[in-house]
Structures are given as structure tokens and as C-alpha cells.
């Protein structure tokens, strides 16, 4: 339980349900009304799924699975159908961290420092996520370095610097407009020299359709491998929970360019559900690692499939 206490698991739920008036789920309501998987039930389920940004294709797939399961396994009461629906949704997320609780902040053996690279389109919350990540590793007693490789956006350095200060970690930066690959290289070199456990490289937000900027990202990654063979060990794509179907394109393009190892969903403390990760998770086999549920430094939580699925069905505003 020690780990869960540290993660303040309760806050996940709190964050996700902050403004939702009742805990009565749409699904429960649906099911108490009838105990058959009829057309109306499926239509309402589809509405909930699509309304959560799950997408048409994925929603259809889930409906198919629910129908199939209901036919095969049968269910006696609402609880069982409820579980069936959740299972169908959750199965799209296999590979992501489950409630069985392996520590998402555990560092693998053999890579010291453990190097993470954080990427995403503009405004999704990369810098904030890095601040929170750094804080978590620091709290776990690790020596953390941050590389400010967003040398493009105005005041990106200053923003990251404030987060580094809050987390109490070291930041390596150069002047605005300098080569981001050089910043990444420098960060890795000095992190190695100063016996760091974790290195987190921030990058400038970029739309996945900008060929030059995606090339720049490839270069940053190549240069990191030169500074430390095998780095980065993790490439995290940050997704805004309110993003719709375009998130699939984002994930595909970033994955094609630099190979993603995990996803972070931010801004889950609003009314957006982030259902698009179901499609991404299935198509690209990339696990969701963390979720962001607020602007405070400890508002980063491990992603837990059951909790996420449950929140997906909770009534919005």
C-alpha cells in the first residue's frame, strides 16, 4: 500500500469526479431500466462512447464485443452486464498499467541515467508534465536532470526553470533559439558526469504534420544516442484529454518519426474523457503511463485501466 499512498490514489478519483454531481453512472441507469442488450441500449452505449471521444470505429467494435459476450456468457443482472461492458472497453487498453499496481515510477535496471524524452503537439501540457514527473522521481530520492530543449517558444526556458525549482531538480539550458539537439546532448553529458538517475528532455510543441519539425525531433533523438548509446530509453507522447480523433494522427506520426514507448493524458480533471486512447492503444500497442489531473505539482497519477474505464462512464456536467 505504500506506493498507493504516495500516489494519493484517492486524488485520482477526486480529480476525475470533481464536478460530476452524481456518481450514478449512465450505464447503471441504462441497465437498471432493462436487462437485455436491445437496440436502444446499444444506441445509448454508442452515444456514451462516442461522446467520450472513443470514435465511431472503436465504438462499433466495442458494441460488437458486448453483443458477442452477452450472447455467449449471458448475464443475470445489471451488475453483470455493467461488468461486461467495462471489460469490453478495458480490453482495448491491455498493455497499459493495471490496478495490480506495478510502480510506474520504478526505474529499470541497466540504464543509468534513465533517459526520457517528452514530445507532443502545442499546448498539451508537456512542460507541466515534466515538472510533475521530475517531482515524483525527486520525491523517490532520485537525482533528476531536466534538459530544456524547447528553444523555440517564447519563455519556454523560464517556464521549465520555475518547475525545476519547484521540484528541486537540476535544469540544463541554453539561450532561446539555440539548437535543441545540442541542449539534449549537453544535458546527457553533464547528467552522466554528475551521476544522475533520471534525465527528462523537454521538446518544443510541434504539429505532427510539420515535416521539418518532425525531422528536428529525429535529430534530437539521434544525437542523444550519440551522447549515451541506447538513450532515450523512453519516449513519452503527451495528449490533451480534450483532443478528438486527431490524436490518432498525432500518435501515428510521432511514433513513425521517433518510436513512442508510452502515452500521458493530461487535463483529465475537466469534463473531457480522453476516450481516443482506446484507438491509439489498440492500433499502436503503446501503453498509457500517466494521467494529469490538475495544475499542482503532485497532480500526476499512474494510469489505471479500471479507474479510467469507470470515469469514462461517469456522467459529465
Amino acid at each position: 500500500m505504500g506506493f498507493f499512498d504516495k500516489m494519493k490514489l484517492g486524488r485520482l478519483k477526486e480529480g476525475l469526479t470533481k464536478t460530476r454531481e452524481a456518481l450514478v453512472t449512465k450505464v447503471t441507469r441504462l441497465i437498471t431500466a432493462r436487462a437485455r442488450v436491445d437496440a436502444e441500449f446499444l444506441e445509448q452505449l454508442e452515444e456514451i462512447l462516442i461522446g467520450a471521444d472513443v470514435g465511431v470505429a472503436m465504438a462499433q467494435k466495442i458494441l460488437g464485443v458486448v453483443q458477442e459476450k452477452a450472447k455467449k456468457e449471458r448475464y443475470e443482472n445489471t451488475e453483470e452486464l455493467n461488468a461486461l461492458v467495462r471489460e469490453a472497453v478495458g480490453s482495448a487498453l491491455t498493455g497499459s498499467v493495471n490496478s495490480n499496481g506495478d510502480d510506474p515510477f520504478a526505474l529499470p535496471e541497466g540504464s543509468k541515467p534513465h533517459v526520457m524524452m517528452v514530445v507532443g503537439v502545442n499546448g498539451v501540457g508537456k512542460t507541466t508534465t515534466i515538472g510533475k514527473l521530475a517531482y515524483n522521481y525527486k520525491t523517490a530520492g532520485k537525482n533528476v536532470f531536466i534538459g530544456a530543449a524547447d528553444t523555440f517558444r517564447a519563455a519556454a526556458n523560464e517556464q521549465l526553470e520555475i518547475w525545476a525549482k519547484r521540484a528541486g531538480v537540476t535544469i540544463i539550458q541554453q539561450s532561446h533559439g539555440s539548437d535543441p539537439a545540442a541542449v539534449a546532448f549537453d544535458t546527457l553529458k553533464s547528467a552522466k558526469a554528475r551521476n544522475a538517475d533520471v534525465v527528462i528532455i523537454d521538446t518544443a510543441g510541434r504539429l505532427h504534420t510539420k515535416v521539418n519539425l518532425m525531422e528536428e525531433l529525429k535529430k534530437i533523438k539521434r544525437v542523444m544516442d550519440k551522447a549515451m548509446p541506447g538513450a532515450p530509453h523512453e519516449v513519452l507522447l503527451v495528449l490533451d484529454a480534450s483532443t478528438g480523433q486527431n490524436a490518432i494522427q498525432q500518435a501515428r506520426q510521432f511514433d513513425a518519426a521517433i518510436g513512442l514507448t508510452g502515452l500521458v493524458i493530461t487535463k483529465l480533471d475537466g469534463t473531457a474523457k480522453g476516450g481516443i486512447v482506446l484507438s491509439i492503444s489498440q492500433a499502436l500497442k503503446i501503453p498509457v503511463r500517466f494521467i494529469g489531473v490538475g495544475e499542482q505539482i503532485d497532480d500526476l497519477q499512474p494510469f489505471i485501466v479500471d479507474e479510467f474505464v469507470k470515469a469514462l462512464f461517469e456522467k459529465g456536467q
Binding site: V56, N122, G125, A154, A155, E158, S242, N246, Q249, E295
Partner: protein
């Protein structure tokens, strides 16, 4: 000859297959496709449902012209409705006659408010105004630095404070602008979640303390289903005047634009198309409609449908003319089409025999309105058989349209002349071919 025969066969077959008019059955498949297209473009589930229902209801029973399928026609109708829905109002920003004009910018975190504020300042500066940027995001680390740097890049001063509250900064900026002769104030605020009560109250307070002439809601074009919730919540609190759609330079289809338009009836005023500070464009509803429906297949289908649609109408008209069945009703339809095409005399000259009719040749736009009014005051029967229009009918029509009996007489006389000329037109080029030649 064979063409005519084929066409007749086509029409007969269509009727047999139930394709002659739009019915729920013959467009069902197309509507399913359109629904998926809209949902994939991130238009809100309920908005899609309502939109498709209302369009279908309006189009049921509409006649489908020969070379079009009901599916093609409904796609065209949907496209037109979409354009209409997104761009019926003119969308300039409100500026005050008495400086300073105050513009307030609000939105969720990461939507692109600060970048937009700088872009807007840049645009207004290029139009000869003296903007003042106000940094009132006191929460996000380095947000103030960011606006100060952007302001320096475009040569626009930035007013802020490192110690005051957002409300105090906004309030003080008014006095600062007056003193420094800045005629337009652009207030950048912190990103906030619409469910964050405290923060929403703050932005309300900012609004009431500076009484902005224009409030713009900035939203990421990639936003999904939740766009309706956020737009509505911000609108309930701030009653904003317009929407700014950012990050449209990616490959998002931007269905949020339609979702927002349908929950708050406020126009989209700008779109952000890049990270450079001049990457700000006005909003084009037709482009957005094409984008939401998908750049590829559907749009080309629509275009094809559009062409066929016009060609078909012209052919139908031509047939009527040849049989001299050209009625005032057709004339009225033509006037509506002509109005869509623009320059009146140019179009008039395309109608055979028209240039010999001096009077109609130099009608101005107002004259056209009078003609419309007169025709609209006729019964359907009168329009189809104008010969029945006797003295007392003329008097009634004149009264109904607010014109004189002489005007009614004149119109009828011109119409009969036109009809006669069309009858004589049996030889020579076909009307539609002539139309086509004029256009090319």
C-alpha cells in the same frame, strides 16, 4: 434525339426504383456515411444527430433531377446547410468609437491564447492602431515573460504586474492605456477549466471590471466531443462575441467548429494557422465545411453534384422553353439562380432574346426586387398561366406588391414577348450549350 430518349428512360427507371424524390429510404445509406464522416471529424454526437435530422426533414420529397442520385443531392444539401450554419453573420471584431477599445481573451489551458493575443496585436498594429497587450495570467509559470517576449518581437508594449491580481492588472491597464495613448487593449488571461468555479469567477470579475467591447473565446481546432461543454460554459459566464479556432495548420478536420456554432450562436472570427506571429487568418465557412466533410471524396462528389445540378436545371429549362412552357414560375426560379451568380446584365444577356428587350436589359438590382415582389404577389395558377391575369387580378397584384398597375402590365408584356421569342428559338444552338460557352 437519343439523349432525350435516354433521359426519359432514366427518369422512368428512377421513379420505378423510388429515386425520383428524396425519401428516407433512398438516402439512408448516404446519411449513415455522412454521420460517420461528421463524427470522425469530431462534431459532437448530439449535434450530428440534430443536424442530420433537420436537414433530412427539410429535404424529404424534394425532386431529384435526372442525372443525380438522391444520395448525391442530399450531400449537396448538407454541404450547403453546413456553409450556411457556419457563416451567416459577418464577423468583424467590435471596437469602440471612444478609445481605448477593450478586447478580452479567454479559454482553456493550452488553447493558444497568448500566441493569439500577440497575433491580434500584430494585426491591429498593421492596420494603424496602437495596441497595448495586457498580461493577466498570473498563474502559469512564465506566462507573463512569454507575452513580454512576444510583445517585444512585434513592437507592441506589454502592461503587467508581478505582484497584483489578474483583476487588478486588467483594471489598471485602462488608465495606463489612456495615459500612453494606446487605443486598443488586448487582455490575455490564464487558461482555465470551465469546471473550475473559482477561476471562472475570476474571469467574470475581470470582465465586469474592464467592460470589454469584444470577448473572444479561443479554442483548439483539434478539440473533440467536449467542445460543446466548454464553449457553453464559457458562453454562459462571459457571453463572448466570437470564437478563435487555433492550430488549424495541422490535419485536424475541425468538427469542433460546427459543434460550437450549434451550441452558441456566435461567429468564428479568426483562425490560427501557425506559430509565426502573422499566421492569423479570417474564417472561411465554405472551406471549413469542406474540411469537416473531408477533403477527399465527399467534396469532389459535392462538386460533381453541384455541376450536374446546375446542368440539369438548365436542361430542364431548355426543354420547357422549346415547348414554350416557360412560365413566370420558371422565370422567378431563374431570377433566384441569377442572383446567386452575381452581375445582372451579364447573366441577362445569356438568356436568348433578352438583349432585344431593352427594358429588362438595364434593370438594376432594385428593379429586380420589384419584379420579384410582383411575381410573389401572384398565385401559383397565375404564374403558370399568366394569360388568366385580368384587370382585377392586376389590381390585386399591384396592391400586394406595392407597385403600380403599370408596373405589373409592363412586366407581363415583357414576359409574353420573351415567351414568344423562346418559341422561335427552335433552331440554333441549345440553350444549355450556350450557357456553358458563356461561362467557359
Amino acid at each position: 434525339m437519343f439523349d432525350a430518349l435516354t433521359q426519359k428512360l432514366d427518369v422512368a427507371l428512377k421513379r420505378l426504383r423510388g429515386q425520383g424524390r428524396i425519401s428516407e429510404e433512398n438516402i439512408a445509406e448516404t446519411l449513415r456515411e455522412v454521420r460517420t464522416v461528421l463524427l470522425d471529424a469530431d462534431v459532437n454526437y448530439k449535434v450530428v444527430k440534430d443536424f442530420i435530422e433537420s436537414v433530412t426533414l427539410k429535404s424529404l420529397g424534394q425532386e431529384v433531377l435526372s442525372s443525380l442520385s438522391p444520395g448525391q443531392l442530399i450531400v449537396k444539401i448538407i454541404y450547403d446547410e453546413l456553409v450556411l450554419l457556419m457563416g451567416s453573420e459577418k464577423a468583424d471584431i467590435n471596437l469602440s468609437a471612444n478609445p481605448p477599445s477593450v478586447i478580452l481573451i479567454a479559454g482553456l489551458q493550452g488553447s493558444g491564447k497568448t500566441t493569439f493575443a500577440a497575433k491580434l496585436a500584430n494585426l491591429l498594429k498593421s492596420k494603424g492602431r496602437n495596441p497595448l497587450l495586457v498580461a493577466a495570467d498570473v498563474y502559469r509559470p512564465a506566462a507573463i515573460d512569454q507575452l513580454e517576449m512576444l510583445g517585444a518581437q512585434i513592437g507592441v508594449p506589454v502592461f503587467t504586474s508581478r505582484t497584483d491580481s489578474a483583476v487588478a492588472i486588467a483594471k489598471a491597464s485602462l488608465e495606463h492605456a489612456r495615459k500612453n495613448i494606446r487605443d486598443t487593449i488586448i487582455v490575455d488571461t490564464a487558461g482555465r477549466l470551465h469546471v473550475d468555479e473559482e477561476m471562472m469567477r475570476e474571469v467574470e470579475q475581470i470582465k465586469s471590471s474592464i467592460a470589454p467591447h469584444e470577448i473572444l473565446f479561443v479554442v483548439d481546432a483539434m478539440t473533440g466531443q467536449d467542445a460543446v461543454n466548454t464553449a457553453k460554459a464559457f458562453h454562459d459566464r462571459l457571453d463572448f462575441n466570437g470564437v478563435v479556432l487555433t492550430k488549424l495548420d495541422g490535419d485536424t478536420r475541425g468538427g469542433a467548429a460546427l459543434s460550437i456554432r450549434s451550441v452558441v450562436e456566435k461567429p468564428i472570427k479568426f483562425v490560427g494557422t501557425g506559430e509565426k506571429l502573422d499566421a492569423l487568418e479570417p474564417f472561411y465557412p465554405d472551406r471549413m465545411a469542406s474540411r469537416i466533410l473531408g477533403m477527399g471524396d465527399i467534396v469532389s462528389l459535392v462538386e460533381k453534384a453541384q455541376q450536374t445540378f446546375d446542368k440539369d436545371k438548365a436542361q430542364q429549362l431548355e426543354q420547357k422553353m422549346r415547348k414554350s412552357q416557360f412560365t413566370l414560375e420558371d422565370f422567378f426560379d431563374q431570377l433566384q439562380e441569377i442572383k446567386k451568380m452575381g452581375s445582372l446584365s451579364q447573366v441577362m444577356s445569356m438568356i436568348p432574346g433578352m438583349n432585344r428587350m431593352g427594358k429588362i436589359d438595364d434593370v438594376d438590382e432594385k428593379g429586380l426586387k420589384y419584379v420579384e415582389a410582383i411575381i410573389q404577389s401572384m398565385t401559383r395558377e397565375e404564374r403558370i398561366h399568366p394569360a388568366i391575369i385580368n384587370g382585377s387580378r392586376r389590381k390585386r397584384i399591384a396592391q400586394g406588391s406595392g407597385r403600380s398597375i403599370q408596373d405589373v402590365n409592363k412586366l407581363l408584356k415583357q414576359f409574353f414577348e420573351m415567351q414568344k421569342m423562346m418559341k422561335n428559338m427552335t433552331k440554333g444552338k441549345s440553350f444549355s450549350r450556350m450557357m456553358a460557352q458563356r461561362f467557359n
